[in-house]
Symmetry: C2
Subunit: 333 residues, 2 copies
DNA sequence: GAAATTTTTGCAACCGGTTGCAAAAAACAT
DNA sequence: ATGTTTTTTGCAACCGGTTGCAAAAATTTC
């Protein structure tokens, strides 16, 4: 069917090794044979089979990309960045959609079968245990958006969620709010837990009163909308910290639906600064997570592990910042 | 490193072929040896290498998934559906992010190197020429969301965009609009062209006056917002047909920003019925594209081509329908 | 129980590349 | 021109599976 090494070798009048060498980086071939081979290859329309090469070299140039939230548009940005970053390094993502199948061993099995060179777990909702399974299977792994641990046993790239929660508390106080609510992501997500912890701790320190704590059941619009519906049954707060922009948008729409005006009647601060946060219909004040830095860094890290498998586990944290738009009442001087 | 066939064979006390056969569908092995092999495999934690298998069988179970719009959240739904549908059939997507590199031959080259079993081009903006390149390279290909052709030379799964454009015109007339504008997707996209054609033709037939025709530069929020800004400089229309929901949301926000109220001052009808169209902040009346059907069908089609490579090219069109929400003024009786 | 038939098994070649090693060729030194 | 060093080349084994074929084993038939 397709053209093989052998045919090119015959046409160029050289050995198979010579052909192989002209197509592998840093191999020793004279300019003369290289030229002959390249011509023959061009004539025949040859391109080397990565499958065969993978078998021989034990490298596939495939990186498993594990995700489990296809409801949140922020993941489209994430995929965009990952595919580009990997493509630039001549690697390809093998996408695994985790849906609800929580069993790590199945994915490990799967990606092992494909002999991926490395794995990036891109999720803030998966437990650390998940990335672990790969480490145990000797597959280089990076947990992006994962939970920060002071003595990590796997590579983690992300943010300090606790600190970000604290940042939210400070921002609300700066805007002169006294009584607030917390509307987090799913309670099982480490990111949601940590943001809550930091928020609550800092609020206590600076005298911000938290009158409600509720967790949405997913990082999704509908979940935010529903949860806000519950919170609004007896509103004793003036602003809400939402653990995610999408949840926040759902919550805002629920509030507006009840005739509340933002930020006049109620304030909101979100989390992520996804593209949509800047949309006029929301114009969300939010905490920016440096998605792009996290992604680039996690790709770099997994790439470096390909060469240095024994690398000591590393935590890379990137700073978050407040992006002020118009969902908190203006600060009066 | 990893456990191989040979080691399992030795431990089970059988030949390598026997092991191979217990792990391949429909091969002849006695219950007794199967049991022995399975035990040995379990003990050793063996899982067969798909790479090696691919090399031998010339099948990789990899399907190239080509996309070029990572700005539009509808594509997250698309990815979700594709990854699930493929996973269910024991196939995996190899994602190619086309960004701006328009050269088909590069992607063909790339996917040929990975020996993908088939390719799905999932884009309404790529020219037919693109999918062609794969056909010529003998790779089974389906163009999902592609342009309908009465004598197709490749498989196409999608909708009749002209008819959908006509549907939009009829809906606007039903809602008693007289003078309307068309705000399409990028003019280079066949989908945008066809929706325009159908809309314009039908409008003429039923006496709906089109006073403006403009194309956004991408299927994106910002593009819609900008384009609407232009249209609003001299507004002589009462409603707008937007060739895409996301464009429509941008356009709506631009209109509201100028103090217009929807649908009192201006009406909108979108296209796609993406999840977000149902959001309270927009509650968009739109034309539903049966995304899920298109995707499932295109996966089925590419799978069937794996067995029957010579299959005659086929066009599969799915009907669209109007989803009424609240961006067109109510019909008075 | 022997012959005929069917099923199971192992051998060995193959898929399309890579790579260590030794021989051959080229380049350099004297 | 000869000997030495460096570079290039081909051979052959290997990566981890699959599969056609013939022999061996099990099953059926009479």
């Amino acid at each position: 069917m397709a053209i093989t090494l052998k045919e090119v070798a015959e046409r160029a009048g050289v050995s198979r090794s010579a052909v192989s060498r002209t197509f592998t980086q840093g191999a020793s071939v004279s300019a003369k044979t290289r030229k002959k081979v390249e011509k023959a290859a061009r004539d025949l329309g040859y391109s080397p089979s990565l499958i065969a090469r993978s078998l021989a070299t034990n490298r596939t140039k495939l990186i498993g990309l594990i995700a489990n939230n296809f409801q949140n548009p922020v993941f489209l940005e994430v995929f965009d960045l990952y595919t580009r970053a990997l493509q630039e390094r001549n690697l390809r993502p093998l996408l695994v959609n985790l849906t609800d199948q929580t069993d790590p061993s199945a994915s490990v099995q799967l990606l092992k079968q494909y002999s991926v060179d490395g794995v990036i777990v891109a999720s803030s909702t998966l437990p650390p245990l998940f990335a672990h399974a790969f480490k145990e299977a000797q597959v280089p792994v990076v947990h992006a958006f994962g939970r920060f641990a002071s003595t990590p046993d796997i590579h983690i790239v992300g943010i300090d969620n606790e600190h970000c929660g604290a940042l939210a508390a400070e921002t609300l106080q700066k805007h002169r709010y006294k009584r607030v609510a917390f509307l987090g992501g799913p309670q099982s997500a480490t990111s949601a837990q940590d943001r809550a912890t930091g928020f609550i701790r800092r609020a206590k320190e600076i005298g911000l009163e938290i009158v409600e704590i509720l967790y949405a059941d997913a990082y999704a619009y509908d979940s935010g909308q529903r949860a806000m519906g519950k919170l609004l049954q007896d509103r004793r707060f003036e602003a809400v910290f939402c653990g995610d922009d999408l949840i926040c948008m759902g919550a805002m729409d629920a509030a507006r639906d009840r005739g509340l005006s933002i930020p006049k009647d109620i304030g909101f601060i979100g989390f992520n600064d996804m593209n949509m946060a800047a949309w006029q219909a929301y114009s969300l004040t939010t905490i920016r997570q440096p998605t792009s830095e996290i992604i680039l860094s996690s790709v770099d890290l997994v790439v470096s592990m390909l060469d240095t498998p024994g690398r000591a586990p590393e935590v890379r944290l990137f700073p978050c910042s407040v992006v002020e738009r118009s969902t908190l009442k203006p600060i009066e001087n």
